[in-house]
C-alpha cells in the first residue's frame, strides 16, 4: 500500500482554483522531488496536504498511511506522522523553541499512548540533534523562529523533523536561502531520515540539493498539474535546459 496517494486533486483558495487535478503516489522508502516555476502551486499542494483552513479541496482524494487524509484536522495529520517543513516558517515571539519541540513531541507521544518524555532524556536527545545540525544550543532558548536568519529557520525545520521522526516529510524549499555549508548540513539531516518506512517529498528549485539527496522520482508541477514525471535525470535536464523545453514537450 502506498504511503501517500493523491488522486485527481483539485483545490481552491478564495474561489480561484490553484490545483487542477494532481495525481501522485509516494511509497514508503521513496524520495520524490517536486519542481516547477514560481506560482505553479507547489506550496499550495503542501498546505492542502497539511490541511490548512481556507484551502478548499473541491475534487479528488488523498490517502495517507491508510487514513482518509481529507477527513483529518491539521494536528491529526501531524500526529499520524506527517510533517510539513515550511517555505516561510512563521515567527512565534516569546515561545521558546525548546518548549515547542517538547510540546510537539509529547502531543505525538500522547497519541501513541506513551508517557510524557522525561526532561533529561529529552534534553539529551535534542542537544545531540542540535549539534548534528551545526546549530548553537542558544537557539533552543530563543523564541520560535524569532529573529532567525532565513537559513537558521530552515535548519530549525529540519531539527523538528529529526526529533519528530515523521512517516512522511514534506519539505517546501528547505534548501532556499542556505549557504553552501548549511546545504550540506540540511542534506545530511534529510538523508538520515531516509529509510524503509519513510517517505520524503522535497519541493525545490535547484539541482544542488538533489546532488546530496538523490530522489527516486522527480515531478514537474505547472499551473496546478504535474505535467511530467521521471527519474533523477529529469532534474538534470531542467537544470541544464530550464522549463521552456519541457513545458513545450508536455503541451
Amino acid at each position: 500500500m502506498a504511503l501517500l496517494e493523491i488522486k485527481n486533486l483539485h483545490a481552491e483558495i478564495d474561489g480561484s482554483e490553484i490545483l487542477k487535478g494532481i495525481d501522485l503516489t509516494v511509497n514508503a522508502g521513496e524520495v520524490h522531488a517536486i519542481m516547477g516555476p514560481n506560482g505553479s502551486g507547489k506550496s499550495t499542494l503542501c498546505h492542502v496536504l497539511g490541511g490548512r483552513d481556507g484551502y478548499e479541496v473541491t475534487q479528488g482524494t488523498i490517502t495517507f498511511d491508510g487514513h482518509d487524509l481529507l477527513e483529518m484536522e491539521t494536528e491529526e495529520r501531524a500526529i499520524a506522522g506527517m510533517l510539513l517543513g515550511f517555505q516561510h516558517p512563521v515567527e512565534i515571539p516569546g515561545v521558546k523553541n525548546i518548549y515547542l519541540l517538547k510540546e510537539a513531541l509529547n502531543a505525538k507521544r500522547e497519541a501513541q499512548g506513551l508517557e510524557e518524555i522525561d526532561t533529561f532524556t529529552f534534553m539529551k536527545q535534542v542537544r545531540e540533534l542540535v549539534a548534528s545540525m551545526d546549530m548553537d544550543d542558544a537557539f533552543l532558548h530563543r523564541g520560535v523562529n524569532a529573529g532567525f536568519s532565513g537559513g537558521e529557520k530552515k535548519r530549525n525545520e529540519i531539527l523538528q523533523m529529526l526529533l519528530l521522526e515523521p512517516k512522511l516529510a514534506l519539505l517546501d524549499e528547505t534548501d532556499s536561502g542556505l549557504d553552501i555549508d548549511a546545504l550540506k548540513v540540511v542534506s545530511d539531516g534529510i538523508n538520515r531520515m531516509r529509510g524503509e518506512a519513510r517517505g520524503i517529498i522535497l519541493v525545490t528549485h535547484y539541482q544542488r540539493l538533489l546532488n546530496y539527496v538523490e530522489p527516486d522520482m522527480v515531478h514537474v508541477l505547472y499551473k496546478g498539474k504535474i505535467i511530467k514525471s521521471g527519474d533523477k535525470t529529469l532534474a538534470h535536464r531542467l537544470e541544464a535546459e530550464g522549463y521552456q523545453e519541457i513545458l513545450q514537450e508536455a503541451s
Binding site: E75, A78, L83, V90, G94, V95, E103, A107, Q160, L164
Partner: protein, 490 residues
C-alpha cells in the same frame, strides 16, 4: 462620654434595627450612614483614632460622585442597598452551608480546578467543602507549616498579620502609615473603602531585613473570605525587601458583586517591594450576566532614595476591572515597575493600567502591559507617566501590546504623558496584533490542538510579564490564561 459608654450605646442602638436572633446580629442591615461606620468600628473593637479616620473618610465620600471616565459600562450601583458588615462566620455556620463532599460541588468548578492543575487536597478547601481544612492539614500539615512560617518571620522581625490584628497590636504603625499613600479622599472607591473596610493584610519589614520568604506561600493557604472592602498596607523600612503575592489562580466566587480594595505600599531608602497579583474573580457567564465589579486602588510610594516598587499583575477574572497600580517616585534614584497581563473573554470589561509619578531625581520607571481580548471583551490600557518639575533626568519606558482573538472584541490604549522637566526621557511603544492564521497553522502542523496552539501563542505574548512572577505562579498563571480563553477559538 467614655469609650465604654459609647460602645454600650452603640450596642443598644443595634436593637433599634430589630436584631433579635444571635445570627442576625452578625449582619448590619443594608445602607450606609455614620451609624453604620461607627458600628463597623465598634464591632471590630477599634481604637478611637480608627473610628475618627473612618468617619472623616465617610464624610469625604458623601461629597464625591462615582467616576465615569473609565471605558466600562455597568448599571448604577445603589450604595444604600449594599450590606457593609458581615462578621466572620463561625465554624458551625460555615459547616451548615458547606458542601458535604466534593461530590456536592459544582462539577464545572471542579473541572476548572483540574485544568488549573490544583492539587486534589487543595480543591476541597477551595470549594469550601465541609471539614476540608482538616484534610488540608493532614496533607500539608498546615498548622505546623503556619507555625514555622510565623516563627521564621518573627525571628526576622517581620510583622505579617491581618489588618485588624495590626490595628490592635501595632496601632502606632497603622497610625503612622495608613492613608499616607492613598489618602481617604483619593477617589470615590478609595473613600468608600476607607470608611467601611472589613479587613486585609498588614506587612512591616524592619530596617535592613530581607523577608525570609515569599509572603505568597503562607497567604495562599490561609487567605479566605477576605471580604469585599479589603485593605492592605505594606511597609519596608530602610534597606528592607519583601515579595508579596495576592490572590489565587483558582476561580473565586463571592456573593458580593462590588469589590473595592485599597492597597498601600511604602518603601523607604533602599527598600524594595514586589507586589504580585493573580486575580480570578468570577467574570460572569458567557452572556455577561453576573460577575464581580473590581474597583481597586493600589499605589506604592518610593518614599526613600534608591527604593524600588514592582507591581506584577495577571488579571483574568471579574466582569469589570478598574485598576491602576501606581508608583509615586519621590526618592531620588527610585524605581517603579509595572508588569501586567489583562485578559478578557466573553463580555468582560477591563480598564487597567498604571500611573508613574516621577518626583525625585533620576527616577526610572518601566511599564509593560499586555492586553488580550477575546469574545466580546473590551480591554483598555490607561497609563499616566508624569514627570514633575523636580524630577531631573527621569526616564520612563512603556511597552503596551494588545492581542486580539477574533473580531468582535476591542483593544484601546490611552497613554497620557505629562513632562514638566525638559531633561525627561519618555519612550512609548505600542503594538496591536492578532493571533495569525500562519501561527495557528504552523503550531497545529506540529501536532498541537487548536486550543493548545492558541495558548502557546498567548503565553508567548505574555512572557515578559510571566517572567516577573514568582516561579510557581508563572506556571499557574499560564494555566489560568488557558482556562480564561476557553471557547475563544474555533
Amino acid at each position: 462620654m467614655t469609650e465604654t459608654q459609647e460602645l454600650e450605646q452603640l450596642v443598644k442602638r443595634e436593637y433599634k434595627y430589630g436584631f433579635t436572633t444571635d445570627i442576625e446580629q452578625e449582619i448590619i442591615p443594608p445602607g450606609l450612614d455614620e451609624d453604620v461606620v461607627r458600628m463597623i468600628s465598634a464591632k471590630k473593637k477599634e481604637p478611637e483614632f480608627m473610628l475618627e479616620w473612618r468617619l472623616s473618610a465617610f464624610r469625604h465620600w458623601q461629597t464625591m460622585t462615582e467616576p465615569e471616565w473609565a471605558h466600562v459600562h455597568y448599571p448604577r450601583i445603589d450604595y444604600q442597598a449594599l450590606s457593609y458588615y458581615a462578621a466572620p462566620k463561625s465554624q458551625e455556620e460555615l459547616d451548615a452551608e458547606a458542601p458535604e463532599s466534593l461530590d456536592d460541588v459544582d462539577p464545572k468548578l471542579l473541572e476548572t480546578y483540574e485544568k488549573l492543575g490544583i492539587p486534589l487536597h487543595e480543591r476541597a478547601a477551595l470549594a469550601g467543602v465541609k471539614g476540608a481544612n482538616v484534610a488540608v492539614d493532614a496533607v500539608f500539615d498546615s498548622v505546623s507549616v503556619t507555625t514555622t512560617f510565623k516563627e521564621k518571620l518573627a525571628e526576622a522581625g517581620v510583622i505579617f498579620c491581618s489588618f485588624s490584628e495590626a490595628v490592635e497590636n501595632h496601632p502606632e504603625l497603622v497610625k503612622k502609615y495608613l492613608g499616607t499613600v492613598v489618602p481617604q479622599g483619593d477617589n470615590f472607591f478609595a473613600a468608600l473603602n476607607s470608611a467601611v473596610f472589613s479587613d486585609g493584610s498588614f506587612v512591616y519589614v524592619p530596617k535592613g531585613v530581607k523577608c525570609p520568604m515569599e509572603l505568597s506561600t503562607y497567604f495562599r493557604i490561609n487567605a479566605k473570605n477576605t471580604g469585599q472592602f479589603e485593605r492592605t498596607l505594606i511597609i519596608a523600612e530602610e534597606g528592607a525587601s519583601v515579595s508579596y503575592l495576592e490572590g489565587c489562580t483558582a476561580p473565586q466566587r463571592d456573593e458580593n458583586q462590588l469589590h473595592a480594595a485599597v492597597v498601600e505600599l511604602v518603601a523607604l531608602d533602599d527598600a524594595e517591594i514586589k507586589y504580585s497579583t493573580v486575580q480570578n474573580w468570577y467574570p460572569g457567564d458567557e452572556e455577561g450576566k453576573g460577575g464581580i465589579y473590581n474597583f481597586v486602588t493600589k499605589r506604592g510610594e518610593c518614599r526613600g532614595d534608591r527604593s524600588k516598587i514592582t507591581w506584577t499583575q495577571v488579571e483574568a477574572g471579574s466582569a469589570i476591572t478598574w485598576k491602576y497600580p501606581s508608583c509615586v517616585l519621590k526618592g531620588d534614584d527610585s524605581v517603579g515597575e509595572f508588569y501586567s497581563v489583562a485578559v478578557g473573554n466573553n463580555y468582560q470589561q477591563i480598564d487597567s493600567g498604571t500611573k508613574m509619578i516621577h518626583l525625585g531625581k533620576r527616577t526610572r520607571s518601566t511599564i509593560v502591559s499586555k492586553g488580550i481580548s477575546a469574545g466580546h471583551a473590551e480591554n483598555a490600557y490607561r497609563g499616566l507617566v508624569h514627570i514633575g518639575k523636580t524630577a531631573t533626568d527621569a526616564r520612563n519606558f512603556t511597552q503596551c501590546d494588545s492581542l486580539l482573538i477574533g473580531d468582535r472584541c476591542g483593544a484601546h490604549t490611552f497613554p497620557y504623558i505629562e513632562a514638566k522637566n525638559a531633561s525627561a526621557q519618555v519612550e512609548h511603544e505600542a503594538t496591536t496584533s492578532k493571533v495569525s492564521d500562519d501561527q495557528m497553522f504552523y503550531l497545529r502542523s506540529r501536532g498541537l490542538s487548536e486550543e493548545d496552539a492558541m495558548n502557546m501563542v498567548v503565553s508567548g505574548f505574555c512572557k515578559d510579564v510571566f517572567n516577573e512572577l514568582p516561579m510557581e505562579f508563572a506556571v499557574e498563571a499560564q494555566a489560568l490564561l488557558a482556562v480564561s480563553l476557553e471557547g475563544s477559538v474555533g
